[in-house]
């Protein structure tokens, strides 16, 4: 049995708490990463978001452990012993400590805001090799390509930067493909934009992510990410169907 230090000023308390904090951090970090439903990243823009998520989870695991381990350790080790009715030591405060635990989180917040802004800039930028206009209305979606093709599903070539401009005809909607990461509202009266570079083929579900009335729950659309050739074939077929004359794509 480990013999605990007997006085409250013993430095060995800090060593024990430090080790316990580290162990808890690691266990908690892996636990949270295992149970949290972080979607697979299927666009270039989703990767920095997922990375930032992981960094945050590790930081949270550490800060939680720091607070809770110190607190539980003190509660257990320095609890009142039998027949000990003496007063506890009175501390009014400690200015140095207060300054440290105000400044350190402040620095962390500033660092994370900077990383956050950088990530946001990355996630909201990209090229516009493919352009689609997505229109939301109660309660469905419509997709228009610059060559005049209109579709009820959105088809994008894999690996090409796409610029999706978003317009709403009635109330606020929100464009969200969970696997792609970023989410962007459609605000009536203005055009908003979303940059996406899908890097995995497949069929995804586009959901409206802003409560938009009675059938908000059913405001879904299919999004297909296909190889370049398939995209061209689909576009040709659509153009033939819809008698679109211009060949510019």
């Amino acid at each position: 049995m480990l013999k605990l230090p007997q006085t409250s000023t013993d430095r060995r308390h800090f060593v024990i708490v430090g080790v316990l904090t580290l162990v808890t951090t690691v266990v908690l970090g892996f636990f949270m990463l295992a149970i949290l439903p972080i979607k697979a990243q299927k666009s270039v823009q989703a990767e920095p978001i997922a990375w930032l998520f992981q960094v945050h989870i590790w930081l949270i695991a550490f800060l939680f452990s720091l607070v809770v381990v110190f607190m539980l350790y003190s509660l257990v080790v320095f609890r009142r012993r039998k027949n000990d009715d003496s007063e506890g030591e009175h501390f009014e405060g400690n200015t140095a400590l207060e300054i440290i635990w105000t400044v350190v989180p402040l620095v962390l917040v500033v660092i994370f805001s900077f990383i956050g802004i950088q990530t946001l800039n990355g996630a909201t930028s990209g090229g516009d090799e493919v352009q689609v206009k997505a229109t939301g209305f109660q309660w469905s979606w419509k997709f228009d390509y610059p060559n005049g093709v209109t579709s009820a599903e959105m088809v994008l070539p894999v690996g090409k930067p796409a610029l999706i401009s978003l317009e709403s005809q009635d109330v606020i909607h929100s464009f969200w493909v969970a696997e792609w990461g970023p989410k962007q509202d459609l605000v009536p009266g203005m055009t908003t934009t979303l940059h996406i570079t899908p890097d995995t083929e497949g069929e995804f579900k586009l959901r409206c992510a802003e409560l938009c009335g009675l059938s908000h729950w059913s405001m879904l659309a299919t999004v297909r990410v296909v190889p370049e050739e398939e995209y061209t074939a689909w576009m040709d077929q659509k153009m033939a169907e819809q008698n679109v004359q211009t060949a510019s794509r």
Partner: protein, 337 residues
Amino acid sequence: MDAGGDTPLRHGPPEGKPAWTRYFGVDYNHKVIGIQYGVTGLILLMVGGSFALVFRTELADTGISFLQAGTYNTFLSMHGWVALAAILLGIGGLANYLVPLMIGAEDMAFPRLNAFAYWINVPAAITLLLSMLFGWDSGWTAYPPLSLRGPVGYQFMFLAIFIVGLSSILGSLNIIVTMLMMRPKGMTLFRMPIFCWAILATSLIQLTATQLIGQAFLMLSFERSLGMPFFNPLYNAAGENIGGQPLLFQNLFWFYSHPAVYVFVLPGLGVISELLPVFSRKPLFGYRWVALSSLAIALVGFLVWGHHMFTSATSPTCVWSSCSRRCWWRCRRGQVL
């Protein structure tokens, strides 16, 4: 009771009536009003909680089980505001009951205003609950244009929240004045119990921020009933928006609703900071820092409402304008208010 006359301060039960009757009528005693606030808050909390239970039960199984889509949205939206009003009343209860006792004041600075601020909550709560009969479905945020289109239940809700907000403003004004003017000699600000500091910070937020949501809901109400184009876009022949701006509402709304988070949490922190020292028989660690950081929370709380609007069309990079030229570009296109 003529205007300008002294408010009758009455300590003890009303004459000739049983003591419990004072809780069911207009009473100027801060403890009575505190209990009225607290009990009304608890009742509303149970109502709001039941709404939450109803729509969570619906979610237990996929598809529609027993609520229609519209009813589901109404329950979802109602539980938000009912619970919010409940918490505001509960905080009013704690503050009214405890603050005068803690600082050693005889009563609140304006006892009659205090009673008024409580009693307008009763019609407000009834109006809020009546809105259920007509339904409204936007969630508690009531973002236009959706809230401009839905059923007439919205008008009831706007009115109710406007009145609850008025009560919040009057109540907090009363508390701030009490705390600043009615401390006896020797009770300096830094000798006040820490709960009073938490309530002071809370009241400062309530006094200032609540006006923004009151205004926002009033504007929604006028747009619905009188057609004033604040938020709903209108298009001219060239397809340009010459009407309202939906994001204006979001800015007004979150300018209250983010600080409101601290209205709810600060009194709780104050209560804990009172209880822990008592039961561990030690002074509060860093009393002055806790007091000042309560005020700092209130201040910083006003600066961060933009994080509720990350997916709106605003650019959060605006805050860091030097980081991004795109921000300037967006500002010029009128995308940022």
